[in-house]
């Protein structure tokens, strides 16, 4: 096969919805992989024109500048409440929020619970990296027991700081939830499962069933103080032991 007899077909290229240029995530962070999944799912469902995204504070805040859809961001905590307002004013739009564990589990827990109880027709992308990544790795509600962070230098002790927060199970226990699942992107196979879960969640919102939530496990290499490849082992051995992967709820209809 000579070089001039060959044409090149693109198998894998950056998605169209991702605006060109570098992003600010640290080397080895999986947020970039999740951002790519989000772009691909929105493109495949063909909802670019209807989608509105709300980002929270923290590392996902700057996704407003990376995605080529309507976005508002930088609100630490009440992202779900703002998304509720947008969805109720414009019911034909597809509204998604991108929030971290410190928002949904701590400062924004009130808004999150209220939206869950009302069964708002939103999609929440919940990024769980077991620490407050942006501000220097303090203990978050999702920090594993015994894990050392800057505010728990002896390891997290449940007697003083409580037990880890399980957002996906909490959402699955609510009657207004249409889809709830926890996924990870630390291997190619898990990445494909994560894409399927994210697409199912958006599909449930398009059908207008109820609240949908996808929880993503992600590493934080600088704050965990591990190399990118050791982070994959840590997710496999420690994170998945505490936060089991899977689909906790997927219903086509909610009885009112």
């Amino acid at each position: 096969m000579r070089a001039e007899d060959v044409v090149k077909q693109v198998v894998c290229a950056p998605p169209k919805l991702k605006l060109p240029g570098p992003h600010h995530h640290c080397p080895g962070c999986h947020y970039g992989i999740i951002l790519r999944l989000l772009c691909e799912v929105i493109e495949e469902l063909g909802i670019e024109g209807q989608a509105i995204g709300i980002t929270g504070g923290g590392c996902s805040a700057r996704w407003v500048a990376y995605l080529d859809v309507d976005m508002a961001g930088g609100i630490h905590g009440p992202g779900v409440a703002i998304a509720t307002a947008i969805k109720r004013i414009y019911p034909e739009t597809i509204v998604f929020t991108i929030q971290g564990d410190g928002e949904l589990g701590a400062i924004g827990l009130g808004s999150f619970m209220a939206a869950l109880l009302r069964g708002e027709k939103l999609t929440t992308i919940y990024l769980n990296n077991a620490c407050y990544g942006t501000t220097g790795g303090q203990m978050a509600p999702t920090t594993l027991l015994g894990m050392r962070t800057t505010t728990t230098p002896q390891g997290r002790d449940p007697r003083t700081t409580g037990f880890p927060f399980h957002g996906a199970e909490l959402a699955a226990s609510m009657r207004g939830t249409a889809y709830s699942g926890r996924v990870s992107v630390h291997t190619p196979a898990n990445r494909q499962r994560a894409k399927k879960a994210l697409r199912a969640a958006f599909q449930r919102q398009i059908e207008g069933v109820g609240y949908t939530l996808v929880e993503f496990l992600s590493p934080c290499p600088p704050n965990w103080q591990l190399s990118p490849s050791d982070c994959l082992t840590f997710i496999e051995e420690k994170m998945i032991a505490e936060y089991p992967l899977g689909e906790f709820k997927n219903v086509a209809q909610i009885d009112y």
Partner: protein, 80 residues
């Protein structure tokens, strides 16, 4: 066998090495010597003859730095 190649965008790569970790055929050498303009160590597409254009390195690149191309012969391309 399907052949292909990858192109690593040096401006975007941060040298995390996930592409080398997940390449099932060992085409990509982990970051070692070569530096990017930003000062990150770059992975190298070391064994192009083994690449079968599966696209996994592009999927798993967190920095959108990898484009994967598959070679198609011209007669085959005209037939499809």
């Amino acid at each position: 066998m399907t052949r292909g190649e990858i192109v690593i965008e040096e401006q975007l790569c941060k040298g995390c090495g996930l592409c080398a970790k997940f390449c099932a055929r060992g085409c990509i050498a982990p970051p070692k010597d070569k530096l990017s303009p930003q000062g990150y160590l770059l992975p190298i597409f070391a064994n192009p003859e083994k690449c079968n254009a599966c696209g996994v390195c592009g999927w798993m690149c967190p920095d959108f730095a990898i484009t994967v191309y598959k070679y198609i012969e011209i007669e085959e391309a005209a037939a499809t």
